[in-house]
Amino acid sequence: MKDQVGGTQKRARFQALCQSLRPDLLRFALWLSRDRALAEDVVQETLLRAWKSQDSLQDEAAAKPWFLTIIRREYARSFERKRFVTVDVDELVAREEPMLAAADQQDLGELRAALFKLPEEYREPLVLQVLMGLSTAEIARELGLSNAAVLTRLFRARRRLRAMCGVDTSMDPPE
């Protein structure tokens, strides 16, 4: 009986954890895939896998990197399943136009479109840092890179993004 109550409480806590992380997981998947439908599929699969293996999450404080690892794996699996060929970025931007320039956030549309056009090697660490709040070391672990490589990618990501958005980059150092 006691075990049953403990199990119920544990499941409720895990469910609350899924709920609180889901919006950012969905955003992360979206910036990774640049496809809302695919992002929703990936997150749905991620939540199911997480649910099945919740016992392997020992420390709730480490939940975010744990979920991110699953989501990246699921995203990679979606490639295996669908065998994407080429990606026309302008087409992607046009397809996701309603989301990129939401009615109350039209000032952000240009920046979001620029993010879509940023190569994945720069976009992913940037999203992990700014949206998911990961430190350089955490990003390095997640992506299997050195800290220095992560910092170089982040530097290039911002530099390119600013240039794409017409920000005055006269004070930016060269690459």
Binding site: Q19, R22, P23, W31, E40, Q44, L100, R158, D172
Partner: protein
């Protein structure tokens, strides 16, 4: 000694980096100060841009795992488990939408609801009133914290949090003691005319400190935040 190119390269990789060598360079370099301000404004936009609106809930997860034929006990268990997740996701949809916005954005939005707090004054809030607000959160304030001209226990993200205004030489500074909001590291923001920082407080959530207008630069806000942090007794 760090040069301008090194400073800017480091900051472009991490605009919230707070290495002492960076702070030292910024304090003595006007151009890099301007560069930092411009970069932080861009960073604030970038954060908002990444927080795209998300739908309140997903299609029921159970729809994918419940087979059309009679489920085996094992499959049935997974379907039930998935349904619990899905039900939670759907039921929590509206709440999720609200909690999806950034902490900094929520703090700034909260400021708009209490504009009267920002007046510059030498008149402190009555001791009993201040004590009451702080006691609600089981904290106290050192006597040398400065003149506290406003104190209110505010509802913020589902919790009651102390909202204080402390008068400093640089003008009024708003402090929100966010015991329930945990952040991994300091985060500066410059949004809608408010400039501030959210700093983690080990074991006690975080602290949001912000000023209004362009008269106080980000470095000064951080100095003020450190002083305020030292003055709060948890």
């Amino acid at each position: 000694m760090m040069d301008c190119a090194g400073y800017r390269k480091t900051l472009l990789a991490d605009p919230h980096a707070a290495d002492p060598a960076l702070l030292l360079h910024r304090a003595g370099c006007h151009d890099c100060g301007l560069f930092t301000e411009q970069l932080l404004r861009f960073e604030s936009r970038l954060e908002r841009a990444l927080r795209v609106p998300v739908p309140p809930g997903l299609a029921p997860v159970s729809a994918q795992v419940v087979p059309l034929r009679r489920p085996s006990p094992r499959r049935k268990w997974w379907a039930m488990a998935a349904s619990v997740v899905a039900a939670g996701v759907v039921a929590g949809g509206l709440w999720l939408g609200a909690s999806g916005s950034s902490l900094a954005a929520d703090v700034v939005t909260h400021m708009g609801g209490e504009p009267q707090a920002w007046r510059r004054t030498d008149v402190p809030v009555p001791d009993a009133e201040l004590r009451g607000v702080l006691q609600d959160s089981h904290i106290s304030l050192a006597a040398d914290a400065g003149v506290v001209s406003y104190a209110n226990s505010c509802s913020f993200r589902g919790n009651q949090v102390p909202h204080l205004v402390i008068q400093t030489a640089s003008g009024p500074v708003t402090v929100m003691v966010l015991l329930h909001e945990h952040v991994a590291r300091s985060k500066r923001f410059d949004e809608q005319g408010y400039r501030g920082v959210i700093v983690p407080v080990a074991g006690h959530g975080s602290l949001a400190v912000l000023t209004r207008g362009a008269s106080v630069d980000s470095a000064a806000v951080e100095r003020i935040a450190r002083r305020v942090q030292e003055a709060i007794v948890y």
